[in-house]
Amino acid sequence: MAMKCPVGLAALWGRHGSQESLARVLETMRDEHELMTISSLRRIRASSVSFGESLYRRIAQDNWRIREIHHRIESDLSGEMVFEIRIDEYLLHFVVYANPDGPGPRDGRLRDNGFDLQGVLYEGPLDWGRIHREGTEIREKVWGGRTTNDTLAWTFANRSSRLFKDMRSGKKIDLNERLKVGGYILRNAGAYANGRHGSRAWMMLPEDHPLKYPYRMDMFCLYLWRLAGFALVDDFCAKHPEITPLTEATKRNVGVGNSSGIGTVATLVRWPSVLAATAFAREFVIAHALVKTDPLGLEELELILERLKMAVQGAEFAAQSDEAALPLVVELRKLREICELARSGEEQPASALFAAAESAVSPEALEELRSALTFVDREGTEIAEQIIPLLIGFDRATAPERLVSEERVYLANEFGWALDIDMSTEASMHYFWYKSEQNGENRRGERRTDEGVDRETFVNMPGALRDYAQALSEAPDNWTLGRLLLASPEHSMIAARVNLSRALPCTTIHGNVLHKNFRPADLIRYFLSILGLGHLAENSNQWVTGVGYSGIPVLLDTEVERKQEVFV
């Protein structure tokens, strides 16, 4: 079955080719029922349309100018740094407030009220008064702090405690040796934008604003933390001759760390259009690459091999802390050999290379090849980049005039997988999601044991679909959905989501995240991949660590103007 064509794509495609060629791409895409299962989503890896990659292309192609203009870090690691960002006519500043080294490592969780570093990204000229005021607010009030409408984001990070502990030990260290397989200097602890703390909403930025794109603000904060990490370490090395500083070659492999937990599962369920846009866009580019009949050129094969090299490196890094990643290392090496053979053999299109790999490597390794193929398809990537905001901005609405009898048939055809799940067993309803009193941190409880079932977060899609199906079955055939929802308003959200699935494919995870056997890490991996993070490793089945922006050049003008101290 061909992938459903999302609303808006046909018009967008019209500039690139015929509707027949679009149909070929849609037919080549995996079916939604195959793609949206938890096991398939788990395997998905960062691609050319991941939010981080998309941002990095903009930074590099549009020549964003980022330079550190103030640096004052004391021996206890406290102080401030200010980065100036010029993008065409836009002037932004990223201010880093560094706190002294704490007694131990910080987790970087939402429950925490203290971080090593706090950052503010704002639009406008350098303004020390404002920087001072905002520093007081973010440092003293943290979660309760408020900002102004010209602030784009607040963001938090922690230093790699092991790295900094060693750096401060007085021992001789070569940072290049230490970070040769990648890794990070700073760990991201979240970006709070899009209205949070009173910041400006990205959707309301002017049309030509460089950060007006889904998740771009979040990913830019991540990018800035990478640069701030290098600035911190370079400064530290300059003051400590016993430490060999990072070379540019090593820096390329060093990214920014991140750890995500079960809250991301609730996010994926809560925002069906984000799920649809991200799953569809990546699959679209893959299919776009696979339908091409032209053979892959040498440059393209080199690029695929480069991406696979990074994938091997990422898997090796993950295997250091997560043994389960070891088989992937072996499979990825096998995949590289297949691609190296293709480079030295006869020319072939992407589909032939893919077919050769498909029969030889594991599905997880094959997904890395799919991702690599997206990086050699510029046109497909450009179209998909335009699809993403279209789909994410799509309004959820009901279709009140639709008849109950029609809705029953649609539900049975499209959501049969959910209606077939037996939700009456203890195992199928084992868990529930909730927010804790500790800053609203997402948590998962066991339904039979834990407090908070009455305040559970919505993640039970199969249950809601089944309840809706039940209400539909009990309503008269000639009722409209408008009539049904007036009588049973509790089904409003699910009716709107079902209606959304008529316009967009891939809006729903085909599985039950409440089940006793569900592993949150499977979907956390997906979320981190769509952001563009690699080096994924599971700390537990509830936490996945990753590294962002590893393997890319450092585009930073390193000129630092050491200004007078402004913080008193």
Partner: protein, 242 residues
Amino acid sequence: MSESNRLGYPELRRMAPEALRMIGLPLGLADRIADVLTWTEAATGRSLRAAARLDGQEQHVVLPDIHPATEDPHHPVIDCAGASMLIFAPLIVDYLAAESHRGVYSATLRNYSDPSFLLYAAYQNSRAGYRLEISPAGHSSAQAQKFWESEELGEAPAYGQPELWVSITPPGHLARDAVSRFPGQILPEESPLWGAVREATVRVDEAKRTGIVVEDAELDWLRDITKRIRVKSSARSEMQAG
């Protein structure tokens, strides 16, 4: 009010479902009504006050009773039994939108409260191609204008509100066909409702750009009620975190 009372539009939208759940709305309804609450707060500055008023009331999700008008079987009368339009405006208007495809072009709404939330329903359905008119029954255009412009809109008790005549045409129909059935013959161009909707959308657009400034008492209420959804922490719960 200080600058710290300024909420981002999406910030309020994120808080709204939790607030609505804690005043008793079912989970499957709260998400939809969150749109109504956020839009109307940006447009009129009165929706948090209305939501706070519902907080603590036990019977605010009373289903409206629908029955045909005695003189016209194609003209339903919807008795809201005091229900707030915060909760029912989009549901009632959706119902009428659906019925308009079957030739039911008008209805009477009575015993409702918080009519300011009808502005959102009118706006939203117009985006889907429906044409909606709502006006106090038997009132002149000037009185209708006063009704929609009233600072007290939403404050009067349900049983003190005038009956509303609702007229709706489905997409593709000539609006005039429907409004000709409308008492007072108010044409859309002159409609007090649409004047109010137009002003509201300007304020909403501005709020999306610059945020929504909320009264101290309402902000305190919002912060308090959204904390109520949070569950007590324990060593065990910390292990199940993320």
